[in-house]
């Protein structure tokens, strides 16, 4: 038994779509309070992994515990413990920057006063105070992404999933978002993120898993990985 508790433990996750095998047995362990980056190119199965771990999709085989609960048996408890920012924007474009997180607060059953305080604080922290009265659809990509993240944090989850949080963002917005993730980590939140960029994984993660051909072909710290990658390509 480990002394540290794990936020995520997955073993032998498999998933196929029709004849296409996307995951061919993925094992991962993410200790509480750490940042794990799943690195892989387009179509590697990053989103599929996130969807399985967040109860959106059933794996064909394998098992996982997320926040201490079985993803199949205790899906409702898993959902109550996590926050998810999907790959694609999950804001209601017709609602304003403030109404979007307020909707989340309502769904999380925060009382009015607490909802107002939490939402105000998040808008401030994510540099969204000026956009609070505007329809979310009118915001820039970077702002929408930050609003996405703010909505994920309304219920103060201790484990969050970020699927390609900065893909398509300008360098400046990307660095802002990295800053937001680091603040979360400083608060002790566990982060599972996916990315196509080694640089992003290197900047944020304690451990990096490289997904290729449906398996984790390498798993290590950023420093080790940088040492491994040139070696692997020369063979």
């Amino acid at each position: 038994m480990t002394t540290r508790t794990n936020a995520i433990e997955a073993a032998g996750l498999r998933k196929s779509y029709g004849g296409l095998q996307v995951l061919a047995g993925v094992d991962l362990t993410v200790p509480e309070g750490t940042v794990y980056a799943l690195l892989g190119p387009n179509g590697a199965g990053k989103t599929t992994t996130v969807r399985i771990l967040t109860t959106l999709l059933d794996a064909d085989a394998g098992a996982a515990r997320v926040a201490g609960y079985g993803i199949r048996r205790d899906a409702a408890r898993v959902r109550a413990s996590i926050g998810v920012t999907g790959q694609f924007s999950a804001v209601d474009e017709l609602l304003t920057g403030r109404e979007n997180p307020r909707l989340m607060a309502g769904l999380a059953h925060l009382d009015r006063r607490r909802a107002r305080a939490v939402v105000g604080h998040l808008l401030e922290r994510f540099g969204l105070a000026d956009a609070a009265g505007r329809r979310a659809g009118a915001n820039s990509g970077g702002m929408r992404r930050r609003l996405d993240l703010a909505m994920t944090l309304v219920a103060a989850p201790r484990l969050i999933f970020l699927d390609e949080p900065t893909t398509g963002l300008a360098p400046r917005s990307r660095r802002d978002l990295w800053g937001n993730v680091r603040e979360l980590v400083a608060d002790g939140v566990t982060v599972f993120l996916t990315t196509q960029y080694l640089e992003e994984a290197d900047q944020l993660a304690d451990r990096i898993g490289v997904l290729d051909g449906g398996r984790l072909v390498a798993e290590s710290t950023a420093a080790e990985l940088k040492r491994l990658v040139p070696g692997a390509t020369s063979s």
């Binding site: 959902r79 209601d92 769904l107």
Partner: protein, 214 residues
């Protein structure tokens, strides 16, 4: 007005209005439900549904929200349609209880139809397609007892018209408006609403659980 139509009930225009009003009411319910299919399909193309699905909320509460929204919208649209019919000269012999019965029946129809169109919205590949199938519901009153008596139809069409779900619903509404409700029509209407509503609800829940946003 309608008196000149072959097979239409003879009488003044108030009589004809009384005859077609149930058809108009059912079409009103159906047209709101098309909008619901589009809204649901649009939701599904947006990541926000996935967000809801990863939250600790009842999985179908988003869908229930759509159904309630559609029912409120339907109530408004029905009030407008009835108001217009009265302005044009609709007369009714319905008692207060029969009015309540009519309101209840239309609410039930709206509930059943929107659960069904929610399922269609979830099943369709995109919002455009999602609106095609429920279009049929708006046309169904024409091939039922909505605008001309079923007895006046050619035999093939008549067979369909007599057995399609909207016919007993419209006949029940007509009976209530006339102040002489028919037990058989009302039972038929309630039965169809129950089948459509329960079927639509179960189908929606199943699709919502399994379908991933694209």
């Amino acid at each position: 007005m309608g008196a000149g139509l072959p097979g239409a009930p003879a009488g003044d225009r108030g009589d004809y209005l009384t005859f077609i009003t149930p058809g108009i009411l059912v079409m009103t319910v159906a047209s709101v439900s098309i909008g619901t299919a589009v809204l649901v399909a649009t939701d599904m193309t947006n990541g926000i549904i996935d967000r809801f699905r990863t939250m600790a909320i009842a999985r179908s509460s988003v869908l229930t929200g759509h159904v309630l929204g559609a029912m409120i919208q339907t109530a408004h649209a029905l009030a407008v349609a009835l108001g217009a019919a009265f302005l044009l000269g609709l007369h009714t012999a319905a008692s207060v209880t029969q009015w309540l019965g009519l309101a209840g029946l239309l609410a039930l129809l709206s509930f059943a139809m929107t659960w069904f169109t929610v399922a269609l919205g979830l099943a369709g590949p995109d919002p455009e397609t999602a609106s095609d199938l429920p279009m049929i519901f708006v046309l169904l009153p024409f091939v039922g007892s909505g605008f001309v008596p079923v007895e006046s139809m050619p035999s093939g069409l008549r067979g369909f018209a007599e057995h399609q779900p909207f016919t007993p619903v419209m006949d029940a509404c007509r009976g209530l408006l006339a102040g002489s409700p028919s037990g058989a029509d009302t039972l038929g209407a309630l039965g169809w609403c129950a089948v459509i509503g329960v079927g639509g609800h179960l189908w929606s829940r199943r699709l919502y659980r399994t379908r991933a946003a694209k």
